[in-house]
Symmetry: C2
Subunit: 156 residues, 2 copies
Protein backbone atom coordinates (compact mmCIF):
# COMPACT_ATOMS: atom_id res chain seq x y z
CA UNK A 1 0.00 0.00 0.00
CA UNK A 2 1.16 3.53 -0.73
CA UNK A 3 0.87 6.27 1.89
CA UNK A 4 0.52 9.99 1.31
CA UNK A 5 3.62 12.20 1.53
CA UNK A 6 3.21 15.35 3.61
CA UNK A 7 5.48 18.21 2.53
CA UNK A 8 5.39 21.40 4.62
CA UNK A 9 7.12 24.64 3.68
CA UNK A 10 5.79 27.23 6.11
CA UNK A 11 5.97 30.82 4.81
CA UNK A 12 8.68 32.91 6.50
CA UNK A 13 10.79 29.96 7.70
CA UNK A 14 13.78 28.40 5.84
CA UNK A 15 12.63 24.83 6.46
CA UNK A 16 11.05 22.03 4.45
CA UNK A 17 9.54 19.17 6.47
CA UNK A 18 8.58 15.87 4.89
CA UNK A 19 6.72 13.05 6.61
CA UNK A 20 6.00 9.66 5.00
CA UNK A 21 5.07 6.20 6.28
CA UNK A 22 6.32 2.94 4.83
CA UNK A 23 5.04 -0.60 5.38
CA UNK A 24 8.51 -1.93 6.17
CA UNK A 25 10.89 -2.02 9.14
CA UNK A 26 13.19 0.94 9.82
CA UNK A 27 16.27 -1.16 9.01
CA UNK A 28 14.98 -1.70 5.44
CA UNK A 29 14.02 1.96 4.90
CA UNK A 30 17.37 3.09 6.30
CA UNK A 31 19.26 0.64 4.05
CA UNK A 32 17.41 1.99 1.00
CA UNK A 33 18.73 5.45 1.92
CA UNK A 34 22.36 4.47 2.43
CA UNK A 35 23.07 1.57 0.03
CA UNK A 36 23.86 3.09 -3.40
CA UNK A 37 22.62 0.01 -5.26
CA UNK A 38 19.18 0.42 -3.65
CA UNK A 39 19.14 4.25 -3.56
CA UNK A 40 19.70 4.52 -7.33
CA UNK A 41 16.53 2.48 -7.90
CA UNK A 42 14.11 4.87 -6.20
CA UNK A 43 15.36 8.42 -5.56
CA UNK A 44 13.82 10.94 -7.96
CA UNK A 45 11.14 10.87 -10.63
CA UNK A 46 10.51 7.87 -12.88
CA UNK A 47 11.05 9.99 -15.98
CA UNK A 48 14.73 10.73 -15.23
CA UNK A 49 16.77 7.85 -13.78
CA UNK A 50 19.77 8.76 -11.63
CA UNK A 51 22.99 8.35 -13.61
CA UNK A 52 25.57 8.34 -10.81
CA UNK A 53 25.58 7.84 -7.04
CA UNK A 54 28.17 7.58 -4.25
CA UNK A 55 27.11 7.30 -0.59
CA UNK A 56 29.79 7.00 2.08
CA UNK A 57 27.32 6.86 4.97
CA UNK A 58 29.67 7.43 7.92
CA UNK A 59 30.37 10.60 9.93
CA UNK A 60 32.57 12.82 7.74
CA UNK A 61 31.81 10.71 4.65
CA UNK A 62 30.68 12.33 1.42
CA UNK A 63 27.62 11.63 -0.70
CA UNK A 64 26.71 12.66 -4.23
CA UNK A 65 24.13 11.74 -6.84
CA UNK A 66 23.30 13.23 -10.19
CA UNK A 67 20.72 13.30 -12.97
CA UNK A 68 21.24 14.32 -16.59
CA UNK A 69 19.30 17.24 -18.05
CA UNK A 70 19.04 18.57 -21.59
CA UNK A 71 22.28 18.59 -23.57
CA UNK A 72 25.32 18.56 -21.27
CA UNK A 73 23.29 19.78 -18.27
CA UNK A 74 23.76 17.87 -15.04
CA UNK A 75 21.77 18.20 -11.80
CA UNK A 76 24.05 17.10 -8.98
CA UNK A 77 23.29 16.94 -5.25
CA UNK A 78 26.09 16.38 -2.74
CA UNK A 79 27.23 16.91 0.82
CA UNK A 80 28.81 15.44 3.94
CA UNK A 81 27.31 13.07 6.52
CA UNK A 82 27.57 14.45 10.07
CA UNK A 83 25.59 11.87 12.11
CA UNK A 84 24.83 8.30 11.07
CA UNK A 85 22.82 6.12 13.49
CA UNK A 86 21.81 2.89 11.72
CA UNK A 87 18.04 2.44 11.33
CA UNK A 88 17.45 5.67 13.28
CA UNK A 89 19.02 8.93 12.07
CA UNK A 90 20.97 10.61 9.26
CA UNK A 91 22.20 14.20 9.53
CA UNK A 92 23.92 15.47 6.40
CA UNK A 93 24.67 18.70 4.60
CA UNK A 94 23.27 19.19 1.09
CA UNK A 95 24.36 21.33 -1.83
CA UNK A 96 23.10 21.63 -5.42
CA UNK A 97 25.50 22.29 -8.30
CA UNK A 98 23.23 25.00 -9.77
CA UNK A 99 23.17 26.97 -6.49
CA UNK A 100 26.86 27.19 -5.51
CA UNK A 101 27.73 28.38 -2.01
CA UNK A 102 24.33 27.43 -0.57
CA UNK A 103 24.84 24.77 2.10
CA UNK A 104 21.81 23.24 3.84
CA UNK A 105 21.45 20.58 6.52
CA UNK A 106 18.90 17.77 6.53
CA UNK A 107 17.99 15.46 9.40
CA UNK A 108 16.21 12.22 8.52
CA UNK A 109 14.61 10.22 11.33
CA UNK A 110 13.43 6.63 10.96
CA UNK A 111 10.89 5.66 13.64
CA UNK A 112 9.57 2.10 13.62
CA UNK A 113 6.20 1.24 15.14
CA UNK A 114 4.92 -2.34 14.82
CA UNK A 115 6.95 -3.09 11.71
CA UNK A 116 6.01 0.13 9.93
CA UNK A 117 8.32 3.10 9.59
CA UNK A 118 7.57 6.78 9.92
CA UNK A 119 10.17 8.78 8.01
CA UNK A 120 10.57 12.47 9.01
CA UNK A 121 12.92 14.73 7.06
CA UNK A 122 13.75 18.25 8.33
CA UNK A 123 15.61 20.35 5.76
CA UNK A 124 17.23 23.66 6.79
CA UNK A 125 18.20 26.09 4.02
CA UNK A 126 20.71 28.93 4.43
CA UNK A 127 18.05 31.60 3.73
CA UNK A 128 14.34 32.03 3.05
CA UNK A 129 15.19 32.78 -0.60
CA UNK A 130 17.12 29.50 -0.96
CA UNK A 131 14.23 27.55 0.56
CA UNK A 132 11.67 29.25 -1.67
CA UNK A 133 13.81 28.63 -4.77
CA UNK A 134 14.07 24.93 -3.95
CA UNK A 135 10.30 24.63 -3.50
CA UNK A 136 9.66 26.61 -6.71
CA UNK A 137 11.94 24.23 -8.63
CA UNK A 138 9.30 21.53 -8.45
CA UNK A 139 11.06 19.30 -5.91
CA UNK A 140 7.72 17.97 -4.63
CA UNK A 141 6.98 15.81 -7.68
CA UNK A 142 10.33 14.03 -7.51
CA UNK A 143 9.97 13.45 -3.77
CA UNK A 144 6.46 11.97 -3.97
CA UNK A 145 7.22 9.78 -6.98
CA UNK A 146 10.51 8.69 -5.43
CA UNK A 147 8.72 7.43 -2.31
CA UNK A 148 6.23 5.52 -4.50
CA UNK A 149 9.20 3.84 -6.18
CA UNK A 150 10.63 3.11 -2.73
CA UNK A 151 7.32 1.42 -1.71
CA UNK A 152 7.76 -0.93 -4.68
CA UNK A 153 11.35 -1.72 -3.73
CA UNK A 154 10.82 -2.41 -0.02
CA UNK A 155 10.09 -5.92 1.27
CA UNK A 156 6.36 -6.26 1.95
CA UNK B 1 40.31 51.87 16.92
CA UNK B 2 37.63 49.44 17.98
CA UNK B 3 34.33 49.22 16.11
CA UNK B 4 30.94 48.11 17.43
CA UNK B 5 29.77 44.54 16.85
CA UNK B 6 26.21 44.21 15.56
CA UNK B 7 24.53 40.93 16.54
CA UNK B 8 21.03 40.31 15.19
CA UNK B 9 18.79 37.41 16.24
CA UNK B 10 15.39 38.20 14.78
CA UNK B 11 12.48 36.56 16.64
CA UNK B 12 10.91 33.66 14.73
CA UNK B 13 13.92 32.95 12.48
CA UNK B 14 16.71 30.40 13.17
CA UNK B 15 19.49 32.83 12.20
CA UNK B 16 22.12 34.87 13.99
CA UNK B 17 23.79 37.62 11.93
CA UNK B 18 26.97 39.35 13.06
CA UNK B 19 28.56 42.36 11.39
CA UNK B 20 31.88 43.89 12.46
CA UNK B 21 34.45 46.19 10.84
CA UNK B 22 38.20 45.89 11.26
CA UNK B 23 40.93 48.41 10.39
CA UNK B 24 42.96 45.83 8.50
CA UNK B 25 42.94 44.24 5.03
CA UNK B 26 40.72 41.22 4.34
CA UNK B 27 43.77 38.96 3.90
CA UNK B 28 44.83 39.66 7.51
CA UNK B 29 41.33 39.17 8.97
CA UNK B 30 40.91 35.96 6.99
CA UNK B 31 44.30 34.65 8.15
CA UNK B 32 43.34 35.32 11.78
CA UNK B 33 40.28 33.09 11.20
CA UNK B 34 42.12 30.17 9.57
CA UNK B 35 45.63 30.08 11.11
CA UNK B 36 45.36 28.18 14.43
CA UNK B 37 48.33 30.05 15.94
CA UNK B 38 46.52 33.36 15.39
CA UNK B 39 42.98 32.08 16.06
CA UNK B 40 43.87 30.77 19.52
CA UNK B 41 44.97 34.29 20.51
CA UNK B 42 41.63 36.02 19.98
CA UNK B 43 38.57 33.73 19.73
CA UNK B 44 36.43 33.82 22.86
CA UNK B 45 36.41 35.82 26.08
CA UNK B 46 39.59 37.02 27.81
CA UNK B 47 38.61 35.19 31.01
CA UNK B 48 38.81 31.71 29.47
CA UNK B 49 41.68 31.10 27.01
CA UNK B 50 41.15 28.42 24.37
CA UNK B 51 42.98 25.23 25.31
CA UNK B 52 43.01 23.40 21.99
CA UNK B 53 42.47 24.25 18.32
CA UNK B 54 42.73 22.51 14.95
CA UNK B 55 41.69 24.26 11.72
CA UNK B 56 42.05 22.39 8.43
CA UNK B 57 40.67 25.25 6.32
CA UNK B 58 40.06 23.46 3.02
CA UNK B 59 36.82 22.09 1.53
CA UNK B 60 36.02 18.90 3.46
CA UNK B 61 38.55 19.76 6.18
CA UNK B 62 37.59 19.62 9.84
CA UNK B 63 37.90 22.27 12.51
CA UNK B 64 37.63 22.09 16.27
CA UNK B 65 38.41 24.29 19.25
CA UNK B 66 37.67 23.91 22.92
CA UNK B 67 37.60 25.73 26.25
CA UNK B 68 37.76 24.24 29.74
CA UNK B 69 34.89 24.73 32.17
CA UNK B 70 34.54 23.86 35.82
CA UNK B 71 36.00 20.50 36.85
CA UNK B 72 36.27 18.14 33.87
CA UNK B 73 33.77 20.13 31.81
CA UNK B 74 34.82 20.97 28.25
CA UNK B 75 33.09 23.29 25.79
CA UNK B 76 34.03 22.11 22.30
CA UNK B 77 32.96 23.55 18.96
CA UNK B 78 33.63 21.65 15.74
CA UNK B 79 32.52 21.10 12.17
CA UNK B 80 33.51 20.72 8.52
CA UNK B 81 34.57 23.40 6.04
CA UNK B 82 32.44 23.37 2.88
CA UNK B 83 33.68 26.46 0.99
CA UNK B 84 37.01 28.19 1.49
CA UNK B 85 37.79 31.24 -0.69
CA UNK B 86 40.92 32.95 0.65
CA UNK B 87 40.35 36.52 1.92
CA UNK B 88 36.70 36.30 0.85
CA UNK B 89 34.48 33.49 2.19
CA UNK B 90 34.25 30.60 4.66
CA UNK B 91 31.24 28.27 4.76
CA UNK B 92 31.40 25.67 7.50
CA UNK B 93 29.12 23.53 9.62
CA UNK B 94 29.20 23.98 13.39
CA UNK B 95 28.34 21.68 16.27
CA UNK B 96 28.65 22.07 20.04
CA UNK B 97 29.49 19.10 22.27
CA UNK B 98 26.74 19.98 24.78
CA UNK B 99 24.02 19.96 22.04
CA UNK B 100 24.65 16.68 20.20
CA UNK B 101 22.87 16.12 16.87
CA UNK B 102 22.37 19.85 16.26
CA UNK B 103 24.25 20.80 13.08
CA UNK B 104 24.32 24.44 11.95
CA UNK B 105 25.95 26.20 9.00
CA UNK B 106 27.80 29.50 9.15
CA UNK B 107 28.88 31.69 6.23
CA UNK B 108 31.57 34.29 6.92
CA UNK B 109 32.20 36.98 4.30
CA UNK B 110 35.26 39.23 4.28
CA UNK B 111 34.70 42.41 2.22
CA UNK B 112 37.59 44.84 1.92
CA UNK B 113 36.98 48.54 1.22
CA UNK B 114 39.96 50.91 1.18
CA UNK B 115 42.10 48.73 3.43
CA UNK B 116 39.32 48.12 5.98
CA UNK B 117 37.36 44.89 6.25
CA UNK B 118 33.67 44.36 6.83
CA UNK B 119 33.09 40.93 8.33
CA UNK B 120 29.57 39.47 7.98
CA UNK B 121 28.70 36.16 9.63
CA UNK B 122 25.38 34.41 8.89
CA UNK B 123 24.64 31.49 11.23
CA UNK B 124 21.82 29.06 10.46
CA UNK B 125 20.61 26.80 13.28
CA UNK B 126 18.60 23.58 12.75
CA UNK B 127 15.58 24.97 14.63
CA UNK B 128 14.27 28.10 16.33
CA UNK B 129 14.81 26.38 19.68
CA UNK B 130 18.48 25.67 18.91
CA UNK B 131 19.03 29.31 17.87
CA UNK B 132 17.31 30.65 20.97
CA UNK B 133 19.31 28.31 23.23
CA UNK B 134 22.58 29.50 21.67
CA UNK B 135 21.63 33.16 22.20
CA UNK B 136 20.47 32.47 25.77
CA UNK B 137 23.84 30.83 26.54
CA UNK B 138 25.49 34.25 26.56
CA UNK B 139 27.39 33.86 23.25
CA UNK B 140 27.30 37.62 22.69
CA UNK B 141 29.88 38.50 25.34
CA UNK B 142 32.45 36.06 23.96
CA UNK B 143 31.90 37.28 20.41
CA UNK B 144 32.28 40.98 21.25
CA UNK B 145 35.31 40.50 23.47
CA UNK B 146 36.88 38.12 20.94
CA UNK B 147 36.69 40.78 18.23
CA UNK B 148 38.29 43.33 20.58
CA UNK B 149 41.14 40.87 21.08
CA UNK B 150 41.33 40.46 17.29
CA UNK B 151 41.63 44.27 16.88
CA UNK B 152 44.70 44.13 19.14
CA UNK B 153 46.22 41.27 17.13
CA UNK B 154 45.71 42.70 13.63
CA UNK B 155 48.38 44.86 11.96
CA UNK B 156 47.42 48.54 12.23
Amino acid sequence: MTHPTTITAEPGLPFVDIVREFDAPAAAVFRAHTDPQLFVQWMGPRSNPMHSVELDAAPGGRWKYAFRGDGDMEFAFYGVYHSVEPSALLIQTFEFNLAPGQVGVSSTRFDEVEGHTRLAVHEVYPSLEARDAAVASGMEHGIREGYERLDELLPS
